[in-house]
Symmetry: C2
């Protein structure tokens, strides 16, 4: 695979070719097609097939490859294949998956199927899986792999190299070796790089890194990912309450976690609850996940509507005021969204670690006034041109400045407030900012109108 | 550093302690404080100091550590330090930075300073830097490091281990070794893991992986990051037009790239243009980056306002209709935002690779009708309770369904349309969805009102 063609185009070609070959019943051709293809791409191609074809394509793979491909498959396809295969075939694959991938699969399967599969795993794999399943979701314990290499500190580099040659096939990752004492307490880390570059006669104790970063089993997975990213690590050791090494979280999981967290933030800002797999869930679930947020806004809007209704006396005298309501609340909402977007992203990526809420809110308030003033001048001129009434025009302009200030303060302050109470700023801020800006914005508008127009 | 205290709290402690010690003039104490601290955390602590203190704190570091810390510092602090130091001290640090980090620094510095620094680098480093600076921004060429280990295929494992022991200190990454022919064409890759686990007498040719993934120097950095993520790689080789190996992109850069891309998406959805460092740019720049989007919305809203104004005859007869405008356009905007959020994120993370626009838009349209129906029933009941007028209530309910349908179709179709024309869906869709929903929504509303109320 080289660079001239985009990789994504090559992958699409594999998908469509596989469909054609299977439809023709050309199994040998399909096998040959998949031979040079990477496991993750084979998984994608199989996902694109019809359900009955998926099992046929999957059977074309060699045993070792089948396991790798299976790990990359979407959970719904994994389930379909489980139901489709005879028991022993499934068991072989599930037994050979790495424990952390197996736990991810079990999280998606019905409890009955999980119990049946668990009971039939080999004792060693069953124990490893049950251990991981015992930790809470979204913690380091749940996402770690219990497969790592731990060694004693008195081994030399040469002895270590000999030792891992016999061990390593069993282990998922060998880029770090963990040095532990007799009761499994973590003493240090030796990277494969250090091992290869060191004098062969030195002991592990002499070459290991001791000021190491570790997390406990109940550390939140997002914190785990942020630490791996921050310290440029390839893996992070996980220890239990007694500081004994129990597992390792690797960098490939980290990237997926950070991507999922970014998606959650983006969904929250867009008013969608995150679901694991949008295209596999049915429409009623999708509607349920969105309707809550829409109801919140509906209620907000009815409050705004009630306020507008209570001002019927003004509106009947100066009907044109109604025409500017969308402009004012709309602009306010957007100024607030800008401030909260910047603050929420800053809090979630830890980019605002050094700063307290004070300077940030002050800064956003200034930005709000500045933006309100620029837009206010334009809106005033436009309103005058439309209506030839300076009083109406000035009402619009002044209201816009006040609303922009209110919006930027609400947009930057609420995320801090929610974080302070342990709530996800991305999830909680949006409805409140909208409410504050809409309701207070309309009140401000009508009061300024009464004042300026002398009603 | 262990798990009981949150790492972020420990880091804040280091920051505040450093400030206190430096204010007391206790340089030895500050030095002792920083001794066990990781370079990235030292960089953060220095960033939190006043400008005059930053230089003092930085001078406390040993030479090797200073280079590492310098690479992690924010670009504005890097610049401050450059201006503050005497020339030779700076040159030493800049000369020892790895070429890709140096290029990132040069990207931020004024051209005059870059020229001066370039001229004084050692010839080898100057050449490496000039090469990278020659590639376009945001391409693989610009972010790769030209430091990697390339070897000939006839070397044995033992010979290779001996060779890299003498070479590796110069290289940033040794987790992959690259096998090339005499004209530097990439033939295969050997991971350090394979090397350590293989029979010492085998040749590299026998153990290397040949179906490898590579990119060219002009591949977009986001594509590079996605490939590393997709294939679970630690590094990705970069080749020139003649397929010769010229550099390597490593996974630590990848995580930062994906995070920056996610921030760009989030900012685009929030109506903010991405800037590299929000808190270092001045307020006018911030305002300029936000005002464009607000102007687009202002114009949209004036169009909506004009339409409302043209319906003055209806509004004067049934003033209550004005009270429901925010509810209808607001809900429409939110339904549209939900659809576009899901589609834009799906396109940008390549999660929607397998599906064409057809089924997705159809699905979103169904979701829109469903959501519109649920909300429409509630809004109808509420409107009747408020006004005791079935005609007005039905107008509101029917309009809500129609507007939700329109919004979900616009929200899901526009991102595809913009991508088709090579525009960033996240950046371009929002203004158009808002416009479509606001303008068409109000038109739909008043026309349904005329029909139902017989005006």
């Amino acid at each position: 695979m080289t660079a001239k063609v985009k990789h994504s185009e090559l992958r699409q070609l594999v998908c469509s070719q596989l469909q054609i070959l299977l439809a023709q019943g050309n199994l040998e051709g399909a096998k040959a097609l998949l031979l040079p293809v990477q496991p993750v791409d084979i998984a994608e191609a199989i996902e694109g097939l019809s359900e009955s074809m998926q099992a046929i394509a999957f059977r074309l793979l060699g045993k070792a490859e089948a396991i790798e491909v299976y790990e990359y498959l979407d959970s719904t396809v994994q389930q379909t294949l489980i139901e489709d295969f005879r028991r022993q075939e499934v068991l072989d694959i599930v037994d050979k998956m790495s424990p952390d991938d197996r736990v991810r699969l079990f999280d998606e399967l019905p409890a009955k199927v999980v119990r049946r599969l668990l009971a039939q795993l080999s004792p060693k794999e069953r124990e490893a899986t049950a251990l991981l399943l015992g930790y809470e979701e979204d913690t380091a314990g749940r996402i770690m792999t219990p497969e790592y290499i731990s060694l004693k500190e008195n081994l030399t580099v040469t002895q270590t190299l000999e030792r891992i040659r016999t061990l390593a096939n069993a282990s998922e990752i060998v880029y770090y070796l963990y040095v532990t004492d007799s009761s499994r307490h973590l003493k240090g880390i030796v990277s494969l790089r250090d091992l290869v570059l060191s004098d062969p006669n030195k002991s592990l104790e002499e070459i290991m890194t001791q000021d190491l970063v570790s997390v406990s089993t109940d550390t939140d997975r997002e914190e785990v990912a942020r630490l791996i990213q921050r310290y440029d690590l390839l893996a992070l050791p996980v220890v239990d309450r007694e500081q004994r090494l129990v597992g390792v979280v690797t960098i490939d999981d980290t990237m997926d976690i950070l991507e999922e967290e970014a998606t959650e933030d983006i969904y929250a800002l867009g008013g969608v609850q995150a679901g694991d797999n949008y295209f596999q869930t049915n429409l009623l679930t999708v509607a349920r996940k969105r309707v809550v947020w829409l109801f919140v806004l509906l209620i907000t809007n009815t409050v705004t509507g009630t306020i507008i209704r209570s001002q019927e006396d003004i509106l009947q005298q100066v009907v044109i005021l109604a025409a500017f309501i969308p402009l004012l609340t709309g602009t306010g909402g957007n100024v607030g969204a800008q401030s909260s977007t910047v603050v929420i992203r800053g809090l979630n990526t830890e980019a605002m670690n050094n700063l307290g809420p004070g300077p940030i809110i002050f800064r956003e308030a200034l930005a709000g006034v500045l933006l309100g003033a620029i837009l206010g001048i334009v809106a005033t001129i436009w309103a005058f041109w439309l209506q030839s009434d300076w009083f109406v025009a000035i009402t619009i302009g002044v209201s816009l400045v006040a609303i922009a200030l209110l919006a930027s303060v609400a947009g930057s302050a609420l995320p801090f407030l929610f974080r302070h109470f342990g709530l996800d700023p991305a999830l909680m801020s949006a409805p409140f900012i909208t409410t504050a800006v809409d309701v207070l914005g309309v009140l401000i508008y009508f009061n300024i109108a009464r004042l300026v127009l002398g009603l």
